[in-house]
Symmetry: C2
Subunit: 373 residues, 2 copies
């Protein structure tokens, strides 16, 4: 990818994927100023039809301004209810039917205006509507700006599992306006920072140090700091993904902390912890496992813990009891435990992780229940 600073208050990042390459625009992009935003949006839309897919929380904040930037085209708006529970096949069918009834054709352009749920659903509709139409991401949460904008993952959930139905499909562009983050609830903002810290650990120790040095600016949501955060996180993710677009190997390192995190979310009941919060606790566990298994420095595990705490994230389960056996089952490792071969993403040092296939059950149990070790 290539970074470039077109103005002082915005930068862009080119994601190189051959004919599916696209640009991520990051910074104060003027989402509330139609004339300004149109300068970015207009050249990205080839045809005369646009459909904005958004939700009831985001629409009151930005929809009018975005519509104002879309000019004289046919523009239709579909508002989803808020929440992960609507990222399903029923919503997929409803949006598709809406587009067909409004007579959108193969030259239409879909715009995802919202967080990860809107982006994943809209992207999957775009991937499959008449076998694929253009779409543009306008992510409005920190998590979506740093994570969902790169990698081409689109999906809906199935009762049997999250993201079970989907496609790899790239947007025409991503417009990540940092000014929208000012209105995020504090927990949701902090949860987004957990994924940001992850990029420091898995790919970019310089960035990790920068985060340590800029905690105050991050807590105050400084626009300059957020621009750096999104740019460097997207750059790291784009680097990893470009080596492995369809997720067969290297891309697994993006799951650092996630095996533990998913199990924590599941055991506590979805909704108890935000995804980013569970990942924060999971990264602390993964760091501990790395210390025990492959010589990751104890001091660096502590730095990770302190950085997450300083950013307002949980680093332990607190009062919640955590049964080792239940965690092992929730991680889907119960069958593999009997083989004695467990796979985790571990850190060798800050900025360098690897997929490890030979973690012993004893070491894992020591992490899950330190009192037993």
């Amino acid at each position: 990818m290539n970074r470039s600073a077109d103005e002082t208050n915005r930068q862009s990042l080119q994601v190189d994927l051959g004919e599916r390459s696209y640009t991520i625009h990051i910074g104060a992009l003027g989402i509330r100023e139609p004339a300004e935003f149109a300068k970015l949006l207009d050249p990205l839309i080839a045809g005369q039809q646009v459909a904005v897919i958004t939700n009831e929380t985001v629409a009151p904040l930005y929809l009018d301004a975005v519509l104002g930037a879309l000019g004289q085209r046919q523009v239709d708006v579909y508002q989803l209810p808020d929440g992960e529970s609507h990222k399903n096949l029923a919503s997929f069918e409803a949006v598709t039917t809406f587009l067909l009834e409004a007579r959108h054709n193969r030259t239409t352009c879909l715009i995802a205006l919202g967080g990860g749920v809107v982006g994943d659903l809209c992207g999957f509709v775009a991937a499959t509507f008449q076998r694929g139409v253009d779409f543009i991401q306008i992510p409005t949460t920190l998590l979506a700006q740093v994570d969902s904008s790169v990698g081409g993952k689109t999906a809906v959930n199935h009762p049997a599992g999250k993201n079970m139905i989907g496609a790899f499909y790239q947007p025409k562009a991503v417009l990540a306006d940092t000014t929208v983050l000012a209105t995020l609830p504090p927990r949701e903002y902090a949860a987004g920072l957990a994924e940001v810290v992850k990029y420091g650990v898995i790919d970019d120790v310089e960035f990790f140090r920068w985060l340590e040095a800029n905690v105050a600016a991050l807590r105050s949501r400084s626009s300059d700091a957020l621009q750096q955060v999104i740019l460097r996180s997207c750059a790291s993710k784009a680097k990893v993904v470009s080596e492995d677009e369809r997720e067969s190997g290297r891309r697994a390192i993006l799951n650092f902390g996630h095996t533990f995190g998913h199990a924590i979310e599941k055991l506590a009941g979805y909704g108890q912890w935000l995804h980013g919060e569970a990942v924060a606790i999971g990264m602390v566990m993964a760091a501990d496992l790395s210390v025990r298994h492959c010589g990751f420095a104890q001091v660096d595990a502590l730095r990770l813990r302190h950085l997450l705490e300083a950013l307002g994230l949980p680093v332990t389960l607190g009062d919640q009891e955590l049964e080792t056996q239940a965690m092992i089952e929730a991680m889907g490792l119960d069958k593999k435990v009997s083989d004695g071969q467990l796979r985790f993403v571990l850190a060798r040092q800050l900025g360098e992780v690897y997929v490890c296939d030979d973690v012993s059950v004893q070491t894992l149990k020591a992490v899950l229940d330190p009192s037993q070790s």
Copy 2:
């Protein structure tokens, strides 16, 4: 693509699409002999899970033999009811749920055993199941063997239109066993030949002449003749598609006769004419339009008509009345008529067609209602 004859009674065709390249195996492949068929099938399946998607008409004929060729893997079978009406989102969801309940993971391989409906639906499930898994086509109709096997089009229908939800997604391989065509009902067999004749017209005049010279062998369903028919049709289609995988330009020539054909199907009521029959009549109309608009030789239009008739296909609507205005509307041209700019695929000569943007309304009306011209 590259053709190669590995044995006298079978040939193969390589479809070159970079890392998504695959092979079409054509001929007497031994679909009824598990040990023989396993030699082809086994190397194509990377994992330990297979799901065969088929329908209630095809299953009694070939399912047991195919299952016998799949070895000791986990094999699950989903049988659809027969018919285009089941190529919809409900079936898509049912098959996906079936796979998840049988705990298929991302290493599974789907096998489409059936005609175009099974292939289109199974392909779309494969394109989207956990963001994409392997699939193998075993087409059991002539139409599916010559047409659905190449081009990567997968889809389901929506009440608002055919193939409105889908993806471009390539199979791992296509196994086109010519011996299965012996049991096709005569009308369905002839309908498949209509698409075959199309390839002679749009791409390969030598093949057109070969078809004229081999009518008797084709009517008797000679295995050798069918091997040629499928090989040359797939080769022509692969050539056109490789120039335009995502259907932005050149690929439109595959629709020769189809603008008329679709309108005929729609006006008569779906199910009245088989798709191939409507295309046969539509190609005669397209040839007539070519004679009138761009100097296609009258004698070649007659050769096309005679070849289609000799193969048992209809070449006129017979007693059915055909209202010019209704046809224009059914072709979706009613709005474009007012601009006076109509787009059709026309023939310059046998083996050479082009997309023409300046057909006049008068010329079109003369084709639709010759008594008025």
